[in-house]
Symmetry: C2
């Protein structure tokens, strides 16, 4: 039971973990189905491009970002015009945007990564040119899908989504963070610099995912502010936990090359804070994320579970 | 003088050429200024990304696409809410989208081109990773700029622009055409295949540019249809003329490597139709483009000049 206004302990009971597990699974299945419909297989000359887009997008992952869109939108389900189909379209959009960033990030000129979720990365499965174009087309499709959520009656809502996604993912957001990341390799960054880098590189899109649910739900400004604060904190917690995992987990557990950050001489939270210091920082952020949801009471319990899960996960 | 409904000869008088030259120059200056404002120089860690975006976008070119947006929008200037600043924002957006496609097209894994308008291509001036990210961020910014044309009162208009740009530039448009182009290298394509390829690769974005002007101008469905027909035909004429130029002009005139199509064993209109056959086809399309504008009378004279210019240009 949640008592609004009172700080919740970040301890997850067995029941809560199981409820989140079921909820994540259900929504991941719905998001996957939506992605498959929005990026259909085609015949003819464009088939290879669509195949690469499907390869990069389908086939799993936790769908953390898409989950946030759909779960936050469901907080506002008493608003008559919040449509679940629209929420899953927006969820698919953010997953496409995320997938495009991974495809380009894995390219030889970027991180040069051969594996992604234990499978060949897109440029290894296809070729570099196809991977560049598939990433480009996934970005375009992400904006197209948001713009055409025709189940939503209000053009202003869809425009708000498009604008928020552009701001979160462009030069002042995700791509700006990737650039800073490339530039920072081999150079010691301060904690402030690493925090800024990740706030842009991964934080902005996770924050957007939560915000998109609030936009779809026509949250009032106060509600939207709380959701954005939640999204920002779990985004930061997620990245710190990722650094901890990279330093502690095996490649088998991660489904990607482990210890890469160290090999690339990247400045990480673990390098700056130590493993225990980083863990502690992630837990503090997860706690603050939970606290931000107090105005939503019990309805936000899955989102609190998610904040705890983000820092406790093992892959 | 234009007699609506009667086919206009594609002969450009000296006066018309001069009027177009002045109009192109004026609008190019305004578009360049808008681009400079929309992609500002920054300090700090993101500076290199913004520098690469500016390098790829600023510094000239004919601004054919941006010109189309602004000139078509001006056809509807009697509609009270057509705002010139909004038209130049949309013009800058399509130029950013075009610039992103060139940056990625020039990459080693794609066309591997060292020169663009006589200058080092973006990955040569910076590096490959920066070029990939700058292209990505330019695409994002193009959508962002359309979504935030705040001088336009109606969200539905901006949403229409976003959707039309996404459809023109994604897997079923420009990027799809690039994929077909990559796949077709070293293989003989039919005239129908080459036409389809270019309708997607370059045609869709030129067609969108004209259509964007009509959307901003709140054209009625009949007007919009004529503008789209015009845009489609000059897009096709432009590409055929480009093939002719590649086969006949020197690298110095083009500001890029000449004869590349032949070297890459690409199927071109020139290879399929011969130089004279290709020229004649381009002129027929330019004529049809002019005819599509008959409902606009004298107001569309610059757009007719442009159709003639597109097939007569020497660079």
């Amino acid at each position: 039971m949640t008592n609004p206004g009172v700080s919740q302990p970040p301890v997850s009971s067995e029941r809560e973990s199981e409820a989140l597990r079921v909820s994540l699974k259900e929504r991941a299945v719905a998001i996957e189905a939506m992605l498959g419909r929005l990026i259909p297989q085609t015949k003819g000359a464009e088939a290879r491009l669509m195949d690469a887009m499907r390869y990069a997008t389908l086939g799993g992952g936790k769908r953390l970002r898409g989950y946030l869109v759909a779960e936050v939108a469901s907080l506002f389900s008493s608003n008559a015009d919040v449509d679940e189909g629209g929420a899953y379209r927006a969820a698919a959009s953010v997953e496409m945007l995320h997938a495009y960033s991974l495809v380009h990030d894995d390219l030889p000129a970027m991180d040069d990564d051969d594996l992604r979720r234990g499978q060949p990365s897109t440029h290894r499965k296809f070729d570099e040119a196809t991977a560049i174009l598939a990433g480009d087309a996934l970005q375009t499709r992400a904006f197209e899908v948001l713009a055409e959520i025709d189940t939503h009656p209000d053009a202003a809502v869809r425009l708000d989504l498009v604008l928020a996604l552009a701001q979160a993912s462009g030069a002042a957001g995700m791509v700006g963070g990737q650039m800073i990341d490339m530039e920072g390799e081999g150079r010691a960054l301060s904690l402030a610099e690493v925090s800024h880098l990740h706030a842009l590189k991964t934080g902005c899109l996770i924050r957007f995912s939560a915000e998109a649910g609030a936009i779809l739900g026509r949250a009032n400004p106060g509600q939207r502010r709380q959701i954005v604060a939640y999204g920002r904190d779990i985004g930061a917690a997620f990245q710190i936990a990722d650094d901890v995992l990279d330093a502690t987990a095996s490649a088998e557990e991660l489904g990607k090359t482990a210890g890469k950050d160290l090999a690339a001489e990247k400045s990480t939270f673990v390098a700056l804070l130590g493993i225990e210091g980083a863990r502690s920082q992630a837990e503090t952020l997860a706690q603050r994320a939970c606290d931000a949801l107090h105005i939503f009471g019990d309805k936000a319990e899955r989102l609190r579970d998610l904040a705890r899960y983000v820092v406790e996960r093992r892959s």
